[in-house]
């Protein structure tokens, strides 16, 4: 995908979406299948053992996970509103992108704190391996979303993202929204296999 190609030199007919938008959608479909494979692996491994978590292990603290989902969900919403605002040259668009980027950073920290940055015994049992892997996957998704928002913020401040002619922010909002959906899905899977099915 290249965002430069999303710039339409000359519209012939109204409507339609840019190539950048198509690239983002197709990329999200691919990433979605990767994430779905991780969910299937987690559910499959849960189905193969009698006790989950293993004996004498407390279930995960889902508070940090829920916080991360809330933060990235809000960031995605703000990015969508900002993209629509930018298309109409509204002055609130750029500050909203900045706020969304900060929320993305917060979401990354919350998700990493409970998994990647913790000292979980990931070699002791598949339970811990799965918890760590899902957390690491979420963290990568959130870091990417935050970098995307940061990049769009930078170029908005440079004033090279032109209202009505370029849709970098729209593509970025789409990517962040997709990431939010995946992270939410992972939370649901973790809830399912840890609490409801635990």
């Amino acid at each position: 995908m290249t965002l430069a190609t999303s710039r339409i030199a000359r519209p012939i007919a109204p409507g339609g979406t840019s190539i950048g938008w198509w690239g983002a959608v197709l990329g999200l479909i691919a990433v979605g299948h990767l994430v779905a494979a991780a969910w299937v692996a987690a559910i499959y491994l849960r189905s193969r053992v009698a006790t989950w978590p293993p004996t004498a292990t407390s279930p995960p603290d889902l508070g940090l996970n829920v916080g991360a989902v809330a933060a990235i969900g809000l960031a995605a919403g703000l990015a969508v509103v900002a993209a629509r605002g930018l298309a109409r040259a509204k002055p609130f668009a750029v500050p909203l992108v900045a706020l969304a980027a900060v929320l993305g950073f917060v979401a990354t920290g919350l998700r990493a704190w409970g998994t990647v940055l913790s000292d979980h015994p990931i070699v002791a049992d598949a339970y811990w391996s799965v918890r760590w892997f899902l957390g690491a996957l979420d963290t990568v998704l959130l870091v990417t979303a935050t970098l995307v928002l940061g990049g769009v913020l930078l170029h908005s401040l440079r004033k090279v993202i032109v209202p009505g002619r370029s849709d970098e922010l729209g593509v970025a909002a789409l990517w962040v929204a997709g990431s939010a959906v995946f992270v939410t899905g992972t939370l649901i899977v973790q809830l399912a296999i840890s609490v409801w099915w635990g």
């Binding site: 290249t2 710039r7 339409i8 000359r10 494979a37 990931i122 990049g151």
Partner: protein, 640 residues
């Protein structure tokens, strides 16, 4: 207003830049497609040589051509190179080269992503092949089953080379799939509605959708196994709450659709070749397209038939056995359509492409029949891991992919090179390959019935296997000779073959409406399409509103501005003129940065991995760095 294009400016604008940087930074679809084709052909030859060494080892009992360890490496690399580094990249290369020409487009819609697809493929290939220099050639089989491939049983770096190299190649395939879908849906020439789209485009559209669904799970599986090997996690360790069968489920979730990912574009090639050979439109065109879609869906419900002997519950066995039978229906529809094309053809031309197409029909149908046999659970249990399975999948894969690929290469070679391949050489090559293939693999069915297991390094005398192995090895020599004749014929044609015109076949699709080889810009004036065989029926015609500014401007760009048309998904109505990049080193540098990360992970140099990761982020940021005003017409004051 004149619509006469400025051919000189167009040619310079779409030409590559000079020097090494120009060569590396070239993004044009023809260059990228050709690089895929040539590199994958090299992989094909290499994998074939490995196969010949294996056959030499198995010719007689207790032979000592190679050691058991080397034999394990040979069959692993043969399968890996054929499955991951030859068939899919070759089919992608043909699609990347010829689809824009068939669709009336000037280039892929995201040329830099397209270039990255090739560099990622080359990076994965080099990473995998570098294992030869480190003496750590992968040896766990092309499907790398755990626990054999965990560090307990494969402590060296062999499998790490395999996992990282294959994953990078998979990323390349995903990138190409994204590119092809965007091309087919948004870059068709005005008037080429979805109903008028060439059948090769349909095949690639369905295949690319399958790649987006099937390849990421293999990337996920490879990640899990590599993490298990590097960090000691427990995903696949039954003693620690994991399950080795998880690998098989994830692998075959990818692996079975992969068979059809290799088949469908090949069928698309044959559906392109046969109307030309038989001088008539493909019969039952819409049934064939519907069958492509049906295969694309049903192929995801088959993966467990690779796991019938792993203790799967009876009900599940019945479901996957039934699904395996079911997929024969759409496949048979396509085969019958091809037979009908030849049967009802008007003066069929028995050129090499036609011969390879008929070779497909014979070989693939035989492979399909043995496939139905092993879809029966009871038979499957008996023949599992015997040479019957080896024979079956070679009939399906060589019949279903290699023969059509050669049909496509012979068919499109004049367009690609501007030269004709010797007809006689092509016919000799076909008969050598056809006879050689059947002599190699038909006896392996018998070997399977006699109980010879696959992947054995050698065998004892007196088991009744020797004569069949001798015949099989002799056949493999013929097969190799046939491939060699083809390659020599291609090289000879490139050097001194008769010059081919724009359309030596009288073909119906748009790639034959431009000179051979195609000019840098493909189409100086974008064709307007009115039929599914545009060069046979009403053909491509001038735009009805040819005096419109956008149409005129496309033929007269500012120097260096590559302009292309975006059209609507269903009706291909022109929607916008876009400026697309034509030269970029970012895809190459991104690949280098990725390789730094992969090599650092391979050798546990974590600081270097972190530096490489920063390089990845930096190159992506540089790649996506937007320019303030991409339209030179605005900069020149021609447009507000």
């Amino acid at each position: 207003v004149s619509v006469a294009p400025d051919l000189e400016t167009l040619d310079r604008t779409w030409d590559r830049r000079p020097g090494i940087a120009g060569w590396i930074g070239q993004c044009n679809h023809k260059t990228v497609g050709l690089r895929f084709i040539v590199t994958s052909l090299v992989m094909f030859v290499l994998a074939g040589v490995l196969a010949l060494v294996m056959r030499a080892q198995l010719t007689v009992p207790d032979a000592g051509v190679v050691t058991p360890e080397v034999y394990n490496q040979l069959f692993t690399m043969h399968g890996t190179l054929m499955m991951f580094m030859f068939v899919v990249p070759m089919l992608e290369g043909l699609a990347i080269y010829f689809l824009p020409l068939q669709l009336g487009a000037r280039d892929m819609p995201m040329p830099r992503l397209n270039a990255f697809g090739y560099w990622a493929y080359l990076g994965g290939v080099l990473l995998l092949l570098s294992s030869f220099f480190f003496g750590t050639v992968p040896d766990g089989g092309w499907y790398a089953y755990v626990p054999l491939t965990t560090t307990d049983f494969s402590p060296g770096l062999n499998l790490d080379f395999w996992l990282l190299g294959v994953t990078f190649v998979e990323v390349s395939a995903i990138v190409a799939a994204i590119e092809i879908i965007a091309l087919v849906l948004r870059s068709r020439a005005p008037g080429m509605t979805i109903a008028r789209m060439p059948i090769f485009a349909w095949a690639n559209l369905v295949t690319s959708g399958m790649i987006l669904a099937a390849f990421p799970p293999l990337v996920a599986a490879s990640l899990l196994l590599e993490i298990e090997r590097k960090l000691g996690t427990a995903f696949f360790d039954a003693a620690r709450g994991g399950d080795p069968l998880l690998w098989q489920h994830l692998f075959w979730w990818f692996g079975h659709p992969e068979v059809y990912i290799q088949l469908l574009p090949a069928l698309g090639i044959l559906a392109t070749v046969l109307p030309v050979a038989t001088r008539r439109p493909l019969p039952a065109r819409w049934l064939v397209v519907a069958s492509f879609i049906a295969i694309g869906i049903v192929s995801f419900a088959l993966w467990v038939h690779h796991m019938f002997t792993t203790g799967i519950p009876d009900l599940v066995l019945q479901f996957f056995s039934s699904a395996s039978f079911m997929i024969t229906v759409p496949t048979a529809v396509i085969v019958f359509a091809f037979i009908a094309a030849i049967w009802t053809g008007r003066g069929v031309r028995w050129d090499p492409p036609t011969l390879f197409a008929v070779g497909f029909l014979v070989v693939f149908v035989l492979g399909g029949i043995s496939g139905v046999m092993i879809a029966v659970v009871g038979f499957n249990w008996q023949s599992h891991d015997t040479y019957f399975i080896v024979a079956h999948f070679h009939y399906v894969l060589v019949g279903g992919s290699v023969f059509p690929i050669f049909a496509g290469l012979y068919h499109w070679f004049p367009k690609l090179s501007g030269r004709h391949v010797s007809r006689r050489s092509g016919q000799v090559a076909f008969w050598l390959m056809f006879v050689g293939f059947n002599t190699t693999f038909m006896p392996q069915h018998v070997l399977g019935f006699l109980g010879m297991p696959r992947r054995v390094w050698t065998y004892e005398d007196g088991l009744g296997w020797t004569i069949w192995n001798v015949v099989s090895t002799a056949g493999s020599g013929l097969l190799g000779l046939g491939v060699l004749v083809s390659l020599v014929a291609f090289v000879q044609a490139l050097r001194s073959g008769p010059v081919a015109g724009a359309d030596p076949w009288g073909a119906p699709t748009l790639e034959w409406s431009v000179p051979s080889p195609p000019p840098n810009e493909n189409f100086a004036l974008i064709p307007i399409v009115g039929a599914s065989e545009p060069r046979w029926s009403q053909g491509s015609r001038p735009h009805p509103a040819e005096a419109t500014d956008w149409y005129t401007e496309l033929g007269r760009p500012p120097e260096g501005q590559r302009e292309a048309v975006l059209s609507t998904v269903a009706h291909a109505e022109p929607q916008a003129v876009v400026v697309i990049p034509g030269h970029s080193l970012w895809p190459f540098w991104l690949t280098v940065a990725c390789l730094v990360v992969l090599v650092a992970v391979l050798f546990d140099v974590w600081l270097l991995a972190a530096i490489g990761l920063l390089g990845v982020i930096g190159t992506i940021a540089g790649w996506l760095w937007p320019v303030a005003e991409p339209d030179l017409r605005v900069a020149a004051g021609d447009r507000p």
